[in-house]
């Protein structure tokens, strides 16, 4: 049964790496700026999930804090970029 878990961890890591790669393709190719911001958001989420899977693989709780921080910074950066696209300023006077 633990062989199944090892296979699942490897499979999930490869899937998240593939998702990161495809989001990077959209990040470089995206015709408009909002496509690039969406691709950056997807990359943040997938990188966070990849860190959590690495935490499952190594069975340590140190990866959890990194994942929480990445989720936090991903939300803040995406909101700031969307606000910049919407208004031209992040913090309005």
């Amino acid at each position: 049964m633990n062989g199944l878990l090892a296979f699942a961890v490897t499979f999930a890591s490869l899937c998240f790496a593939l998702a990161l790669l495809l989001a990077a393709v959209r990040l470089f190719k995206g015709p408009a700026a909002q496509d690039r911001v969406l691709a950056l958001d997807v990359m943040y989420i997938n990188g966070m999930l990849l860190l959590l899977v690495l935490g499952i693989r190594s069975m340590s709780s140190a990866y959890f804090d990194m994942a929480l921080l990445i989720a936090l910074f991903g939300f803040v950066s995406t909101v700031a970029l969307a606000k910049f696209l919407l208004r031209g300023e992040v913090i309005e006077p």
Partner: protein
């Protein structure tokens, strides 16, 4: 990962496989779909259900390792559930505003 009991290892493995498939399908949709508003939908599948699956698997494995219920991964679930709609709404508003402004400038 040699001493993990089967009641934690088997559901965690299934949840991890489901999450990986969901994330890969979402990223394929992000690349393949033709319009921005269509492209907004598929990654949400990986970032809500996929993240939920990974976090439940993480809770199972860390609880089995520690020998007691460890539920601090619920914090990330709660945070993602709160922030994903806000992000999607702000991005959609920015896209609508930008496309309207572009058509107004053209004529």
């Amino acid at each position: 990962m040699s001493e993990l009991p089967a009641w934690a290892a088997a559901p965690a493995a299934i949840l991890l496989i489901v999450a990986g498939v969901l994330a890969a399908i979402g990223a394929f949709g992000l690349v393949r779909l033709p319009d921005f508003f269509k492209r907004m939908h598929p990654p949400a599948m990986g970032s809500t259900l996929g993240a939920g699956c990974v976090l439940v698997a993480s809770i199972l494995v860390s609880s089995a390792v520690a020998g007691r219920p460890v539920v601090h991964a619920l914090l990330i679930t709660l945070f993602i559930v709160i922030t994903a709609p806000v992000t999607a709404m702000l991005l959609a508003r920015a896209a609508v505003y930008r496309s309207e402004r572009r058509t107004r400038e053209r004529g």
